[in-house]
């Protein structure tokens, strides 16, 4: 019985996600329509517009002679086949572009998120336990500094210290210039190098990720800590935590099994948002570390009015938020039986 309830929960979430994604494509399709003037002249270059053959092929491919709903179906068909159009800037299919830039961003965002969660939850819980005592004040001061530091400034400072002063870090990029990059399999240089057994190359790549990950982690932790602290404070005050103490459980068990468990529910939401923004909006940090990620791609496409690329990135961001939303919901269900079993 428990199994079927669980399955029902998963199916419901999956259906909601599909509906959301269809909505996202609809919005992104309407955005193309809303672009002033002919969508063709916005997506094709001047030169291409002169060529009647190209224009005809374009009309055909996107179904431009058909009514709007047919155009949407054509757009969906192309989308489902992975056809997001061709970037004017790179001249490559937008999907291919995304497949190279997204893994680069992931290579920073994933480790930064995991580190931030571990550190943020531990420090936030510590501050909550030390409520209004020295430890709590120290943490508050630290997070305040972290929150009021602009990302690019922090990036410049760590570059200055670790690259210029100490010379222990590379200045940017994903690999040292004299190294031949590994074949792209996962898209993560670290993993791809490891897959080829080139451990020295993998290590070089890891060193290149260190500083940007540090910067992203500091910023995310600062945001998480305050949130974790207030969530945990509320739980520490709950009757069931007093009851757990009254049972004579060791303090560590009360904190991990009882306090953390309940306090994580609100924390999961913010973590999801934090991760989504790590994936989609770290332009300045990518810029400073010459990191060819989604942020840079989006920035360059937007400034060059490269419409297919911009729409591709928007679609990617929308998918990221939807997916994160799904994972957050599933995590809720996993943690809280009241959600899972109702």
């Amino acid at each position: 019985m428990l199994g079927s309830v669980l399955l029902g929960f998963l199916v419901r979430r999956a259906i909601i996600t599909v509906v959301l994604l269809v909505g996202v494509t609809l919005v992104s399709f309407l955005l193309i329509q809303a672009v002033p003037g002919d969508t063709m002249s916005a997506t094709l270059s001047e030169q291409a517009l002169q060529d009647p053959e190209i224009v005809a092929a374009y009309r055909e491919r996107w179904g431009l002679d058909q009514p709007l709903y047919v155009q949407y179906l054509v757009y969906m068909r192309n989308l489902l086949q992975g056809d997001l159009g061709v970037s004017q800037q790179t001249g490559r299919p937008v999907l291919d572009d995304l497949l190279t830039y997204v893994p680069a961003t992931l290579e920073l965002a994933l480790p930064a998120m995991v580190l931030s969660l571990v550190i943020g939850v531990a420090v936030g819980l510590y501050a909550a336990v030390k409520h209004d005592r020295l430890g709590d004040h120290a943490v508050r001061a630290g997070t305040l500094v972290g929150l009021s530091t602009p990302p690019f400034w922090l990036a410049l400072v760590v570059l200055y210290v670790f690259f210029f002063l100490l010379g222990v870090s590379p200045s940017g990029g994903r690999l040292s210039t004299w190294i031949v990059p590994p074949e792209q399999v996962t898209g993560s240089v670290v993993l791809d190098a490891a897959l080829e057994g080139r451990w020295d190359v993998a290590w070089d790549a890891v060193q290149h990720t260190a500083l940007p990950i540090l910067v992203l982690t500091v910023l995310t932790v600062a945001m998480l800590v305050r949130f974790v602290r207030s969530a945990m404070l509320e739980v520490l005050d709950a009757d069931y935590v007093r009851a757990a103490r009254a049972k004579g459980l060791p303090g560590s068990r009360v904190l991990t099994a009882h306090v953390l468990r309940a306090g994580m529910v609100p924390v999961i939401t913010v973590s999801g948002l934090a991760f989504a923004s790590l994936l989609s909006g770290t332009v300045l940090v990518e810029q400073i570390f010459s990191w060819p990620g989604v942020g840079q791609y989006a920035y360059r496409s937007a400034t060059a009015l490269d419409l297919p690329a911009v729409l591709g990135v928007s679609l990617f961001v929308a998918v990221v938020y939807t997916a994160v939303n799904l994972v957050v919901d599933l995590a809720y269900g996993l943690i809280d039986p009241r959600i899972r079993l109702s």
């Binding site: 309940a262 943690i335 809280d336 009241r338």
Partner: protein, 275 residues
């Protein structure tokens, strides 16, 4: 025989110099149910919290609370963390007013009944489960095995309080501190729980410190009672004498506020005493 718990001139001051309990002396003889009555805010819960070391941060206590249920007498007000974890749950257990709030919403009933058995009694998972099933059966939860896998929100209020009582009894404590455990429940459910406590007292010699603001419950359950007001004990004695021949004006008001002052066995809630 000396009482299993004797509180001597207990005073509790919360941070900000707020004196919430003052000069309270109280005894619980072994194997008896002793009552504390009094309007809300009179310091009943604070007294109970002091007995389990659960007072709010930065509270200051004075006086003593001699506990004779362990290997040697200890003053509960001076225990360090390690000694607390030996006394709490194992020698003295507590049941809270609101079972919905005092059970963890995300842990199974099984976990919440067995976790401290495994810590205190070093029981294996299987042995603890077997004992949990016995306990749930004892507090009359239907289908105890299924209940172990369920979560608190899947039970009714009365059932939840029974689960909380089962958890409190898990390590066979000598004293149960029950802080208004039936206030949130309806009359029939309440009567069942009171009967259960009385049975436990007779069968296993459990001592109970029962807090209530309901004089009918006090009369039905306790042999000895203390009346609290504004953090002080203003009257105490055998429950019957206390309720039929109150000396103190305040107790008289409490008793008079009760609708049917002649039928003490009826465990109906007293509206007037809630204040």
């Amino acid at each position: 025989m000396s009482p299993i718990l004797s509180i001597e001139q207990l005073a509790i001051t919360l941070r900000g110099d707020l004196r919430v309990v003052d000069d309270v002396s109280l005894e619980v003889p072994e194997g008896e149910i002793v009552g504390i009555a009094g309007e809300s805010g009179s310091g009943k819960s604070m007294t109970a919290s002091a007995l389990l070391g659960l007072l709010p941060d930065r509270s200051v206590t004075a006086g003593q609370a001699w506990w004779r249920g362990g290997r040697e007498p200890v003053d509960l007000l001076t225990l360090d963390q390690r000694s607390w974890n030996r006394v709490r749950g194992r020698e003295i257990a507590m049941v809270f007013q609101d079972a919905t709030a005092s059970l963890h919403p995300m842990l199974t009933v099984g976990t919440q009944i067995t976790e401290h058995m495994r810590v205190h009694l070093k029981m294996s998972r299987r042995a603890a489960r077997a004992r949990a099933i016995e306990l749930l059966d004892r507090v009359r939860i239907p289908d105890p095995e299924g209940a172990l896998r369920s979560y608190p929100h899947q039970f009714s209020g009365g059932m939840r309080q029974r689960v909380a009582i089962a958890a409190a009894l898990a390590c066979e404590p000598r004293l149960l501190v029950a802080d208004e455990p039936t206030t949130a429940l309806d009359v029939t459910v309440q009567a069942g729980i009171l009967r259960l406590l009385e049975e436990l007292r007779i069968e296993s010699g459990l001592s109970v410190l029962f807090i209530t603001h309901d004089l009918a419950v006090l009369a039905a359950l306790t042999t000895h009672a203390y009346v609290f007001r504004e953090g002080r004990v203003i009257e105490s004695g055998p429950t019957e004498a206390l309720l039929f021949h109150p000396e103190h004006d305040y107790t008289k008001t409490l008793v008079a506020a009760r609708p049917q002052a002649d039928d003490w066995d009826d465990p109906e809630p007293v509206a007037g005493a809630t204040a």
